[in-house]
Amino acid sequence: MSSLLSASRGLRTGEAALRRPRRSEMWARAAHLGLRAAARGRRGFTSKADPQGSGRVTGELIQHLERLSLVDFGSQEAVARLEKAIAFADRLRAVNTDGVEPMESVLEDRCLYLRSDNVVEGSCAEELLQNSHRVVEEYFVAPPGNISWSKLDEKQPFSHR
């Protein structure tokens, strides 16, 4: 599981090296986007979170984020950190962007390169499987559903083959 998480927020070459964001900060950004959406009138978190930006986050929102992100906001400390992160991101609102189209990609003036439909890669199963923590024959092994390895290892399965 941890390998999947790091893949999703992995650093790519070409990006300035940032410190690895804390998990709660990563989802603060997402929650902030949700608040902005609400401000634009779409159905969202207006009723769920304080629209004035005092950063108070409801229990319902926490549950939802936990389910989506698999991050355990177990402690009050984690929730407090999340609220601080939202407040930090909120400072973006200080900039007046009326009438300005959001930039979606720094590549917006570039041409999208079209590749010909030829097979040029693949056939490297062995190499790829070496990256995996666990492997069965030629399959990657992941825990069932969305439970992290650490939680699973705690429970001892009662039968082993």
């Binding site: 997402a30 959406a37 779409r42 989506l68 999208l112 079209l114 030829n118 069932p144």
Partner: protein, 542 residues
């Protein structure tokens, strides 16, 4: 052939042409025969419930169901949407996976031109507006078969929008008429497929194969313009035929190349729409109709018993988790008027050029067959419904002098019947179009009777390498050509069976059949029953 042609449009096969017989098939909008409040009026729709378990309830005819579909079609291409690894159905696990597909850091998506063309062609075939500029997004969610943690898709600004899909349903019985229904296509977008998970519950683990991860998909969103399982299944079937005709997808549901999710709700006519539930991952056309109708019935029962419908899929607006794909600039498409001069043709896509290259669509083919050969619409439907059958039919037509109606009847009844009985595809048929053409010529020349022709056909199926003419000669199946001989045989039969003649003269009309049978035996089956009857009747009346 006395047997009705319609037999081959039976349930069990989904045609882009269906009998609408579902009990819950109520239409919103102008009545096309469906009714409410039990007033049947001049309704020509025979409402027969799909579910035998339900006895008619008081309020049942007052419900209207609404069905929308999300369809994912795997694009038929050599390589994947954003990488150069191969697209193939069966291969050793993780052997068709590139570094990008495995989401290793440092890899970037590179768009496959063929997938874009496939999307544009499909959009054009469905009368969509093609967006000259479309964008790619990331949709984030965690699942083990999605190594990147997000799927690249086109939620915000897809490649094609606002089209329509037309399909035919047959309403009423005796007389039945064909009605064209349309369902609006909300949008078509390009997106990545995910890998495959195999769940091993015994060891509490999931095995992941990424061969499928990254294959290009067309997601087609159909608006909730359908009102029952049958309509939805028919629409899907027509879409399958279109995709196959275009070559953009093989759309084989059994192989997972076409996956359908249905959104279903019920409401009382005149009132706002009810809560939607989703039925996901329907993998066969037959199951699709049943599952949708089952869900409609379940919702009706729930609401009639005072319950409410719960939408379990999402409790929040699911826009959380979308962001623009920063590694891909906007996708720009051109037409002949806007093509940048001096551009590398490999790097630009011309929508007008693709429009010109569109092949004939199934709807047009069916209309052409009806016009050209005078066949019934359900026949043209049946011809298109079986892979290779249309080509077979056209090859027979080319080589035979027999009437198209005869050819149609033989191909759809006899030939297709033999195939189905032995569970064979057209490509596996031991009878070639030329052989059938020759047989039909013999029949047309009245060299053999139709029952003899059936015998010859059976022989041909055994594939001993003999031509129809050879088989006819060997088995002495030629029709009696000498009229005198026939007259003789008839006369002698009449003389030999006076009691049957008496019976006939006393008024038992069916006695003639016995006489015909006797003459046929005497001719060793080489006389046409109609000819025999004619001679006998003439002789009897003189």
């Amino acid at each position: 052939m006395a047997a009705p042609m319609l037999r081959w449009c039976c349930p069990g096969r989904r045609f882009a042409f269906a009998w609408v017989g579902c009990g819950s098939c109520h239409r919103r909008g102008p009545p096309t025969g469906s009714t409410s409040n039990g007033k049947r009026g001049q309704s020509s729709v025979a409402q027969q419930p799909h579910f035998t378990a339900q006895k008619p309830r008081e309020g049942e005819h007052e419900w209207a169901a609404v069905v929308g579909l999300e369809i994912h079609a795997q694009i038929a291409s050599n390589s994947k949407l954003f990488s150069g690894s191969q697209v193939h159905f069966a291969a050793p696990p993780n052997s068709l996976v590139s570094f990008f597909d495995a989401s290793l850091p440092g890899t970037l998506p590179v768009l496959n031109r063929r997938c874009v063309e496939a999307a544009v062609m499909t959009g054009l075939a469905l009368d969509c507006h093609i967006n000259r500029k479309s964008l790619f997004d990331r949709k984030h969610y965690f699942y083990a078969d999605l190594p990147a943690g997000y799927q690249i898709t086109q939620q915000r600004l897809p490649i094609a929008v606002n089209g329509s899909l037309a399909y035919s349903v047959c309403v009423g019985r005796k007389p039945s008429r064909m009605v064209t229904r349309t369902v609006r296509v909300k949008q078509i977008q390009l997106e990545q497929d995910s890998g495959k998970s195999l769940h091993d519950d015994l060891r509490s683990q999931t095995l992941i194969d990424l061969n499928r991860a990254g294959i290009g998909l067309l997601e087609l969103v159909l608006e909730p313009d359908m009102s029952c399982g049958e309509e939805a299944a028919t629409a899907v079937r027509e879409l399958q035929l279109i995709l196959q005709a275009l070559g953009t997808s093989q759309a084989n549901m059994a192989e997972g190349q076409l996956r359908v999710d249905a959104n279903i709700s019920v409401h009382r006519p005149g009132e706002p729409l009810g809560v939607r539930t989703e039925v996901k991952n329907l993998n066969s056309a037959r199951f699709l109709a049943k599952a949708i109708d089952y869900e409609i019935q379940r919702q009706i029962n729930e609401l009639e018993n005072g319950g409410e419908i719960l939408n379990e899929t999402r409790s929040f607006d699911n826009r959380l988790g979308f962001m623009p794909e920063p590694n891909l600039p906007p996708l720009l498409l051109y037409d002949s008027g806007s093509l940048p001069s001096g551009a590398d043709p490999q790097q630009v896509i011309n929508v007008d050029q693709l429009r010109e290259r569109l092949p004939e669509l199934p709807r047009v083919t069916r209309e052409r067959l009806v016009r050209q050969y005078g066949m019934l619409p359900e026949h043209s439907c049946a011809l298109l419904n079986e892979v290779g059958l249309l080509e077979f039919f056209q090859n027979v037509i080319k080589e035979t002098r027999a009437e198209p109606k005869k050819v149609t009847s033989w191909v759809l009844n006899t030939f297709l019947g033999f195939l189905k009985q032995r569970n064979l595809a057209v490509s596996e048929s031991p009878v070639t179009p030329s052989a059938l053409a020759e047989l039909l010529d013999l029949l047309d020349r009245k060299a053999i009777s139709s029952s003899a022709a059936k015998q010859v056909f059976e022989e041909l199926w055994r594939n001993d390498g003999k031509t129809p003419a050879q088989i006819v000669a060997e088995k002495k199946l030629e029709l009696l050509q000498d009229p005198e001989a026939l007259e003789q045989l008839c006369r002698s039969t009449l003389e030999a069976h006076p009691h049957v003649v008496m019976d006939l003269k006393r008024g038992n009309a069916r006695a003639i059949n016995k006489l015909i049978g006797l003459v046929r035996k005497a001719t060793l089956g080489r006389a046409d029953p109609t000819a025999i009857k004619e001679v006998l009747e003439r002789q009897l009346s003189s």
